[in-house]
Symmetry: C2
Subunit: 129 residues, 2 copies
DNA sequence: TTAAGTGTATTATATCCGTAATACAGTTTC
DNA sequence: GAAACTGTATTACGGATATAATACACTTAA
């Protein structure tokens, strides 16, 4: 069962987008694997304090991308092979890095200043190693 | 006069938010300075192919933050002293770094992998040194 | 002084996001 | 088989975003 313990709504992105990102990044990290069952729309919406339609939209879009599968009446589950995992990793890393580097360049930082910034902030923030 | 040559609408953020970010990052970079005149609402909206109300919203919010000033009838201009520049630099850098590092940790990257990612992508993208 | 440009405000419309309340058919489980 | 749960769909409402069309008073420049 895919866990949503580490998930929290934050920022200005639409909630369904945040849910999609959480699943995709979990697949890249290996914490979400092919065959894993997903919480039902109703259960997850109640857990997060969010409308069922919002979860439905996220699941529906994930299914259109071939990342999860739904059979009417039964619980949905993840369909993630190694190829998809690699595709997602490349997509998300490039996307995030491009946004970060673009912002740094717009503010006039040099490459070394950006690297030092990453080093300093990495340990200040919680999460992982 | 503040130039919007390097500005382009992109991504999912509201247009008025992108305009605000462009001004703020320009101030941090030093390309936008106190006393600089801003394009009028009508001129800038025509230049960007955007509704005048969208530019008005961005300018209005910037004025509420004390970053620009408007006199009814005359052109608006930037009011940015050194203190504001430092405040903006700290705010924006921390905000962007936090988003970037959080994404990397969610995908299970180590600190060194994130640093290497920055190094590799820095030269691949256009902009500055 | 007159004309042009400017900031500001209003009303209307359309789309997206999120919530709310249902409804129905399919599956799982007892 | 029956109850509970599931995916799916619909309608309605409010807020935010963006567009469109005006309108008015103020400043600037010719």
């Amino acid at each position: 069962m895919v866990s949503f313990e580490g998930f929290a709504i934050s920022g200005s992105l639409p909630i369904y987008t945040q849910l999609i990102l959480y699943i995709k990044r979990g697949i890249v990290a290996g914490t979400v694997c092919g065959g894993d069952e997903l919480p039902s729309r109703r259960v997850l919406s109640a857990l997060l304090g969010v409308n069922p339609n919002t979860v439905q939209k996220a699941y529906h879009l994930l299914e259109e991308e071939g990342i999860i599968e739904s059979r009417s009446g039964a619980r949905s589950f993840v369909t993630a092979d190694g190829e998809l995992k690699l595709r997602l990793r490349a997509e998300l890393l490039e996307q995030d890095a491009a946004a970060w580097i673009s912002a740094m360049k717009q503010m006039g930082l040099t490459r070394e200043e950006a690297l030092r910034m990453t080093e300093v902030m990495w340990d200040k923030t919680g999460g992982e190693a």
